[in-house]
C-alpha cells in the first residue's frame, strides 16, 4: 500500500466511487445480456415446438 499522505480519503473515495460505478455498469450490462439471451432461447424453443 503506497503512502497516500493526508489525501488518503480523497484518493480512496475517488477510486472507490469510480470502480463502483464501472462495476455496476458491467454487472447491469451482463445481467441484461443474460436475461435477453434466456428469453430469446425460450422464444426460439417455443417456436420450434409449435412449428
Amino acid at each position: 500500500m503506497p503512502d497516500l499522505g493526508k489525501y488518503a480519503v480523497t484518493v480512496l473515495s475517488a477510486y472507490g466511487a469510480a470502480i463502483t460505478l464501472i462495476v455496476a455498469l458491467v454487472v447491469w450490462t451482463l445481467w441484461r445480456g443474460a436475461r435477453m439471451r434466456r428469453l430469446l432461447r425460450e422464444a426460439e424453443a417455443r417456436r420450434a415446438r409449435n412449428g
Partner: protein, 243 residues
Amino acid sequence: MTSIWEYANPKKFMQTSGRFLPWIAGLAALCMVGGLIWGFFFTPNDYKQGSTVKILFIHVPSAMIAINGWGMMLVASLIWVVRRHHVSALAAKAAAPVGMVMTLVALITGAIWGEPMWGTWWAWDPRLTSFLILFLFYLGYIALWQAIDNPDTAADLTSVLCMVGSVFAFLSRFAVDFWNQGLHQGASISLDGRDDMANVFLFPLLTCMLGWVLFFLTLVLLRTRTEIRARRLKALIARERMG
C-alpha cells in the same frame, strides 16, 4: 475484398463480434487493471497535488470516453440515417448509457479531487459545467429512446436529436468558455498538464486510456448484441401473437 458494410448485417455482426469479444474484453480488463495498479501503487506523489494526482488515471480516461462516446453515437446515427443499417442504430443506443456513466465517473472523481485542491466540491469551471451539460444531453437522448415504442421511429428520432444535440453541445462548450471568462478573468483551472507531465505519470495514463477505450468497445459490443437479441425477441413474440 470484404466491405466493412458486411458487418451491418446483424447475423454477420453477431458472429464476428462474438468471436472477437472475449479477446477485446480480456485485453480491456488487463489494461484497465494493469494501468490502475501501475498508477495507484507505482507512481510518486506530485510535489504540488500530493497523492491526489493518482485520481488522474481514472478521471482523464473517463472524460475522454465521455466525449468520444457521444462522437461515436453521432457517427452511428449518421450511418443509420444514410444507410439504414439497424446494427448502427442499435450501437448508438447501446453506447449512450456507457457514455453517461463515464460522464458521471468523470464528474464524481473531479468533484472529489476538487475538494482538497480547489477547496470546493463544485466550481463552475468551464470544463465542469460542460460536462454537466453533456450529462444532460445523454439523459435526454436515453429518455427519448425509452419513450418511443416503435424501434425504427425511435432510431430515427434519436438520430435527429443526436445530430442537432451535437451542434448545440459544441455551441454550449464555446458559450460556457465565454461565460466563465466573462465572470472572473483568468481564474480558470487547468486540469491536465499534458505538456508538462512527466513520463512516470504519462505511461500508466496511456495504459489506462487504452484500457478505457477497449472497455468502451467491449460494453458497446455487448450491449449491441443484447439489443439485437431484444429486437429478434420482439419480432418472435409479435409473430407468436399473430399465428
